[in-house]
C-alpha cells in the first residue's frame, strides 16, 4: 500500500473514530441533561406529594370537625326542616339555532369580508 493510500485510510479511520467519540459524548451529555430534568420532575413530584398530604390533612373529617366544633360545638348538619324550597319561575329558553330567523346576507363578497359572531356563523353554516 502506498503512503498516500495509508494516509487516506488513517484519516478516514481517525475521522470515523472522532465522529463516533463525539456521538458517544453527545449521548452521555443528553443523559446528564435528561437526568437533571428527571431530578427536577422528582422534586416537583415531591413537593406535589407534600402539598397533597397537607391538603388531605386539612380536608380530613377529623381536621374539619375539630375546626368547626372548636368554633361552635353545637354545630349540626342542616336538617330538611330548615331547607326552604323556592319555586323559581321557569327559565326563559332561548330559541335554538334552527328556530332562529335566517340571517340575511348581502352577497358573496360581503359575506366573505364580514365578521359574524360565532352563533351567527353557526346559523349561517346551518
Amino acid at each position: 500500500m502506498s503512503l498516500g493510500s495509508t494516509f487516506k485510510v488513517m484519516v478516514f479511520a481517525t475521522a470515523t473514530a472522532l465522529i463516533y467519540t463525539h456521538m458517544q459524548m453527545q449521548i452521555v451529555e443528553f443523559s446528564y441533561k435528561s437526568k437533571e430534568k428527571q431530578r427536577r420532575i422528582h422534586e416537583l413530584q415531591d413537593s406535589n406529594g407534600i402539598l397533597t398530604h397537607q391538603i388531605l390533612v386539612l380536608k380530613s373529617a377529623k381536621h374539619l370537625g375539630e375546626q368547626l366544633l372548636n368554633k361552635d360545638d353545637a354545630l349540626q348538619f342542616i336538617g330538611r326542616d330548615r331547607v326552604m324550597t323556592i319555586n323559581a319561575p321557569a327559565p326563559k329558553i332561548p330559541a335554538r339555532p334552527s328556530q332562529r330567523p335566517k340571517i340575511t346576507t348581502q352577497g358573496p363578497l360581503w359575506n366573505w369580508l364580514s365578521f359574524l359572531s360565532i352563533p351567527e356563523a353557526r346559523a349561517f353554516d346551518n
Binding site: V28, S31, Y32, S34, K35, H42, Q45, D46, G49, I50, T52, H53, L56, V57, K59, S60, A61, K62, H63, G65, L69, Q76, F77, I78, G79, R80, D81, V83, P91, I93, P94, A95, R96, P97, S117, P119
Partner: protein
C-alpha cells in the same frame, strides 16, 4: 548507516521492542480471552446497577372516595462512614446533624463510626428536617427516597384500617388482611453509572405494578361523628372501653366502626396492645337485656304471645329451678309490650318458658349468636351460645335475658339490623370494592342475605314494641326529635371472680332509625362505665347524637344528589348564548 555501524545494538533494541510488543500482545490475548468474563463482570458492577423500583401501595378510601390511607414520597437519611471518616470536620458534621435530627450525639457517633459504606441514620424524615439537612450539603451524608404511609385522619377508624410498617407491609387491620392486594409488585431497571457513580441512563426497565385500591363501606363523616360521640362518653363516664358500630340495615354495609381506647395510626409504636384491640369483634360479653330482642322475636313469630297479652311479673321475685330471678323495678301485671319496654326479666322469662328452650336456642342461633356474622375482618369471635342439651335447669331463666350467653357488639348490631330489615339478616361487610390504579373494579362485594329469620309482619310488630322502649321505656335518652327510633337497652353485670359483680357493668344500647324505612342501625357498648352504668343513660345518648347527626348528614347528601340530578336535567343544559 548506524545500523551497519552498530548492528548488535540495533538488534538488541529491536528484540527488546519486539519482546515488549509480544508481551503486550500476549497480555492483551490473556485479558481478552481468559480474563474477559471476570473483568467484564467487574466493569459491569462498576457501571451498571440493578435498581429495584417500589410500587405505589394502594390507597384505602371511604365510600365517597375520601382517602383514609395513602402513600406519599419521603426521604430517609443515611451516612457513608468511610467517606465521613476522611472529612476533617466530621465531628462538627455529626454534632450539627444530631442537632437537626434531635438525636443523641453519642448514639449518632456510634452509628457512623462503623467501618461500612452505608448506615441508616433515620428513616422517613419529616419534610422540614429533610430540607434542613439537604441545605447543609454534608459530605458522606445522603438521602434515599422512600414511600411512607399517611393516615390523614390519624386515629379515625384505626381498628379497621390498621397500619403498615416502615417497609410498607401491612401489620394490622385491613392493611394486613388485604396486603396482597395493596402492596403491588416491584419493578426493576439497570442503571448505567459514570466513574463518579452518577446515574446516566436506564435499560431493561420493568415497570412496577401499583397496588390495588380498597374502597370501604365506611363513611368518613359518620365515622367522625361516631368517634366524637363515643369519645365524649368514654371520658365522661371513665369507661374501661367502648365500641360503636353504625350499619346500613338494608345492605349490611358498615358505615362507622370505632373502639376506645384507640391509637394514632401514624404513631402505632406509641400504642399498647390494648389500644389496638378491636373490641367490637374480638371481645365477647354477656349482653343482658338487649338479648330480649331474640326472645321477643321468637315469641311473636311462633305466635306464643301477643303484644297485648298480660303477664304477671310476680312483684319482682320469681323462682326458676333453684334460682330466684329479680326485676330492677318490681311489677305486677304487664302486657308483653310493657314487659319489653320496662325490660322485665321475669316477664321475659315467663314468655321464654312458653316458647321453650329449643325455640329460644333456635332463634338465638338464627340471629347468629354463637357463630360468626361473616364480616370480612379477621379475628371475629363467635361468642358463646351453648346447645340446649348443655343447659341447666336455670338456663331458661338466664339465656332469654342475656345471661349464660356471650356476644360481640357486631353480632348485636347485625341482629338488630335483621329486625330493622323486616327479618332479613344481611352479612355485615366493610370492603365495598377493590380497584386497580386505573379505577377499574377488580372485585366488588355485594350485599348478601344470610337468613330470613321472621316474617315482615312479625318484624313490624317488633318494630312497634322496640319503638315503645324508646318512647315509653328504658331508652328515652335515645329519642330523636322528629325521627322515630326503635331499640333496646342492656345493663349487664360483669362476672368478676366467678360471681356477678355489683360494681362492674356493661352498658349497651342497640337500635335503629327511622322505624319506617330504617336507614341506620347502631350499637353502643361501654365496658365498666362509672359512676353511671345504665345502658339507657350512658349508651343511648351516644346513639341519639350519632344517629341524629348522621341522618341529617345523609339527608343533606340526598338533597345534594337530588339537586345534582336537577342540574343534569335536559332543561338545564348549557343554553345557546347570543
Amino acid at each position: 548507516m548506524y545500523l551497519r555501524k552498530y548492528p548488535s545494538r540495533f538488534a538488541a533494541v529491536f528484540i527488546f521492542i519486539l519482546a515488549g510488543f509480544c508481551y503486550s500482545a500476549a497480555f492483551l490475548f490473556y485479558i481478552q480471552i481468559f480474563r474477559s468474563s471476570y473483568l467484564s463482570h467487574l466493569a459491569q458492577r462498576q457501571h451498571e446497577h440493578l435498581k429495584s423500583i417500589d410500587p405505589k401501595r394502594g390507597t384505602i378510601y371511604d365510600r365517597n372516595l375520601r382517602p383514609l390511607a395513602i402513600n406519599l414520597p419521603v426521604y430517609s437519611v443515611y451516612a457513608n462512614p468511610r467517606m465521613l471518616a476522611k472529612v476533617h470536620n466530621s465531628d462538627e458534621i455529626i454534632a450539627e446533624l444530631a442537632g437537626i435530627l434531635r438525636m443523641n450525639e453519642g448514639q449518632l457517633r456510634a452509628k457512623v463510626s462503623k467501618d461500612k459504606f452505608f448506615v441508616w441514620i433515620t428513616r422517613m424524615l419529616p419534610q422540614a428536617t429533610y430540607e434542613a439537612i439537604k441545605a447543609k450539603h454534608f459530605p458522606g451524608i445522603g438521602f434515599v427516597k422512600e414511600s411512607k404511609r399517611f393516615y390523614p385522619n390519624k386515629y379515625l377508624a384505626a381498628h379497621l384500617v390498621g397500619f403498615a410498617g416502615i417497609d410498607n407491609t401491612g401489620l394490622d387491620g385491613l392493611e394486613r388482611d388485604y396486603d396482597k392486594y395493596l402492596k403491588g409488585q416491584k419493578g426493576s431497571s439497570i442503571t448505567l453509572r459514570d466513574a463518579r457513580q452518577r446515574e446516566l441512563m436506564e435499560r431493561d426497565y420493568q415497570p412496577p405494578v401499583d397496588g390495588f385500591d380498597l374502597v370501604l363501606t365506611i363513611d368518613e363523616t359518620i365515622q367522625y361523628l361516631a368517634e366524637q360521640a363515643l369519645d365524649k362518653m368514654y371520658h365522661k363516664y371513665n369507661a374501661k372501653g367502648g365500641s360503636i358500630i353504625v350499619m346500613d340495615p338494608k345492605t349490611g354495609e358498615i358505615l362507622a366502626f370505632a373502639n376506645r381506647p384507640t391509637y394514632d395510626l401514624e404513631q402505632p409504636g406509641k400504642s399498647t396492645p390494648e389500644d389496638r384491640t378491636n373490641r367490637a369483634i374480638v371481645f365477647t360479653y354477656e349482653p343482658g337485656s338487649v338479648f330480649k330482642i331474640v326472645t321477643a322475636a321468637g315469641a311473636l313469630q311462633e305466635k306464643v304471645v301477643k303484644e297485648s297479652d298480660v303477664i304477671y311479673c310476680e312483684r319482682g321475685a320469681y323462682k326458676v329451678a333453684n334460682h330466684i330471678l329479680h326485676d330492677h323495678e318490681p311489677s305486677g301485671n304487664l302486657t308483653f309490650k310493657e314487659v319489653i319496654e320496662q325490660s322485665s326479666n321475669i316477664g321475659t322469662v315467663k314468655v321464654a318458658q312458653r316458647l321453650g328452650a329449643d325455640r329460644v336456642y333456635s332463634y338465638a342461633h338464627r340471629f347468629r349468636f354463637g357463630i360468626k356474622t361473616g364480616i370480612d375482618l379477621p379475628g371475629e369471635a363467635r361468642g358463646y351460645l351453648k346447645s340446649v342439651k348443655s343447659w341447666s335447669k336455670t338456663s331458661i331463666g338466664a339465656v332469654p335475658i342475656g345471661q349464660e350467653v356471650t356476644v360481640t357488639a357486631l353480632q348485636l348490631v347485625a341482629a338488630m339490623s335483621a329486625i330493622a330489615n323486616n327479618g332479613v339478616y344481611m352479612r355485615p361487610f366493610v370492603v365495598k370494592s377493590i380497584k386497580d390504579s386505573h379505577g377499574q373494579v377488580i372485585n366488588e362485594h355485594k350485599p348478601l342475605i344470610l337468613d330470613k329469620i321472621m316474617t315482615e309482619e312479625t318484624a313490624k310488630r317488633l318494630h312497634a314494641i322496640l319503638q315503645g322502649v324508646v318512647d315509653n321505656g328504658t331508652a328515652k335518652k335515645a329519642q330523636i326529635p322528629g325521627v322515630t327510633v326503635a331499640g333496646k337497652t342492656g345493663t349487664a353485670q360483669k362476672v368478676v371472680g366467678g360471681t356477678y359483680s355489683h360494681a362492674h357493668f356493661y352498658a349497651t344500647f342497640v337500635g335503629f332509625a327511622p322505624v319506617v324505612n330504617p336507614r341506620l342501625a347502631c350499637v353502643v357498648v361501654f365496658d365498666e362505665p362509672h359512676p353511671v352504668y345504665y345502658g339507657g343513660l350512658v349508651s343511648a345518648p351516644v346513639f341519639k347524637e350519632v344517629v341524629e347527626n348522621s341522618l341529617r348528614y345523609l339527608n343533606s347528601q340526598d338533597t345534594k344528589e337530588i339537586s345534582n340530578m336537577d342540574d343534569n336535567s335536559p332543561e338545564n343544559e348549557p343554553q345557546y348564548k347570543d
